[in-house]
Symmetry: C2
Amino acid sequence: MRGAAGAQLRPEETLAVDIPSTPALVLNLDAAEANIGRMAALAAANGCGLRPHAKAHKSPDLARRQIAAGAVGITTATAEEALAFAAEGIDDILVANQVAVPEKMGALARAARELRITVAVDDEENVRDLAARATAAGSVVGVLVEVDIGMGRCGVRHPGDAANLALLAADLPGLMPRGVMGYEGHCIDDPDPVSRRRRTEAAVGRLSEAVAALESCGLPAEVVSAGGTGTADITSGLAPVTEIQAGSYVLMDVYHQLTTAAFAVALTVRATVISRHGDLIVVDAGRKALGGDLALPQLAGIAGETAFVHEEHSGYHVEPGRMRVGDQVSIVVGYAPTAVNLHGAYHVVAGGTVVDRWDVRGRYW
Amino acid sequence: MRGAAGAQLRPEETLAVDIPSTPALVLNLDAAEANIGRMAALAAANGCGLRPHAKAHKSPDLARRQIAAGAVGITTATAEEALAFAAEGIDDILVANQVAVPEKMGALARAARELRITVAVDDEENVRDLAARATAAGSVVGVLVEVDIGMGRCGVRHPGDAANLALLAADLPGLMPRGVMGYEGHCIDDPDPVSRRRRTEAAVGRLSEAVAALESCGLPAEVVSAGGTGTADITSGLAPVTEIQAGSYVLMDVYHQLTTAAFAVALTVRATVISRHGDLIVVDAGRKALGGDLALPQLAGIAGETAFVHEEHSGYHVEPGRMRVGDQVSIVVGYAPTAVNLHGAYHVVAGGTVVDRWDVRGRYW
């Protein structure tokens, strides 16, 4: 876990009124829209497409705003998310992971009758299965060959394998090879900007090798996708990348603030003080409402130091006497994507009051 | 995070068939029922009541089995859980935390018209608020004064404060002081059994002081509640404890297996291999389906070492060639209570096949 002191936070003032019940997910709409505009401008300035990762927010309302600001479509982590967004009428969806459950492959193939659906692949048998499902559905599913660009997770390990899979997809009915993708997840949180740039360039170099391998087989890579919030400024300016997948920039959190100061905190969790002792306040939001991930959550708007994060509680040291039982506080989460999926809806705040309620969709995964 | 090697696990054989879609929460009913019987027998042998913590499973079906096996009622962590279980007809519910949101206090007070509801308190103003809500609802809410017995979270810090709050509750209409509670969460995962016992005895000693303070004011403590799965064998045998709150014993997980071998693993998450490279398999269940808590998840039933747990993925080193993309695996979660709330239902397995589907209730918190 990273983080502790609140010094690096620049939370917007999110709320002038109490929320009827807590824990509650609160979205500062002004801050989110400013973040959407900022990332769109960054990508456009580098001549790069932006396909925001919707796993970060799971909100069709935010996705529509991203598309209105110029995004070429959305990225999802799962078939469930893709189908939830497709049901909301959002088109051109990249599932940036392999899908190997027959039921999910079938559902994506059926969705591809109406919409443009692209899925990541890295395994020959899986490519054949996906082709069979698309053929059965009478649709064409796009595929991007995932290349492991240094993270050691999914993705083919050699450029030649990328070319072989793309050739296989080109030969099979039901599939359309569109290019390659990679994710430089091992560079994203490097706190040293110089090292982060050097390592990201090396990672994208591996994508270049895969693109060259595809091209040598007569398969141009129409799409080359990579990048996250922490590296978007670098990746969007590197050839051969055609689009970036950054997502967390819309909401932000303690973790992403450690590597980029370009985006404002738009997401907080509202909680109620349930116990206080000396300088310690204990609130009714713990890991089940804040997530328990990558960085410690921090109080927003008031000075305080995070003492602990338990399952249904978190504790903060504040000025003694500052808060009473029943008072509400706002908390910046450690890592937004694993906090959002714990809630059913956003309380959308503008001008200090709640103006709307937006569903969290595809919530399970 | 604790744990890594699979050596200490004794997972039951949970599944002889594939689940239609993954990630899926799988409950081995035989193992869960054996665990329920074992803890009931342990408490009975020590002449202690058992009020199992339902936050661990969020399942009315399991709660009913616990009550049928002799439990005196259930414990919950939140008002939401209490109301969800009350709606299922489960009576005598202890909310083992302070409730400070007016809406929730009101809902609990209304539930107390029909059912026995008890809530933990540690703050004078909160006690007055709760009394006002109960009076308005025309009900009587039981209260246990929470005593901090060494964890430094909620609970009064001094025995005299426990007596003062109990006296206040006795004076106010709408409230019924029933005794005290504490939670020795700081002892639960002490890996040394001798140290764990010594520290647990010291913690319960602080509850004894609070009980003495109440008695000196003429308020006998009808209920003295403490204990978790890792200390239940100790706490249930110590005066003045009248009931224990253990919950995780029903399901078990890697974390609890580090401190007790008395209970079998009854909970797994079923996942599908989506990518493989040499000895590495990557499956479609990460922190959003397994939780990311207290201990690393481990493969069940096959030899393997956990390589990483990401947001939507986890990776395991297994015998090369052992698994193919599309194969399913079972995973023992690191910490059950923060895995269960990520799912909508249990796939209930008996005799190697899925025999039922049980809802997860009060799922948010």
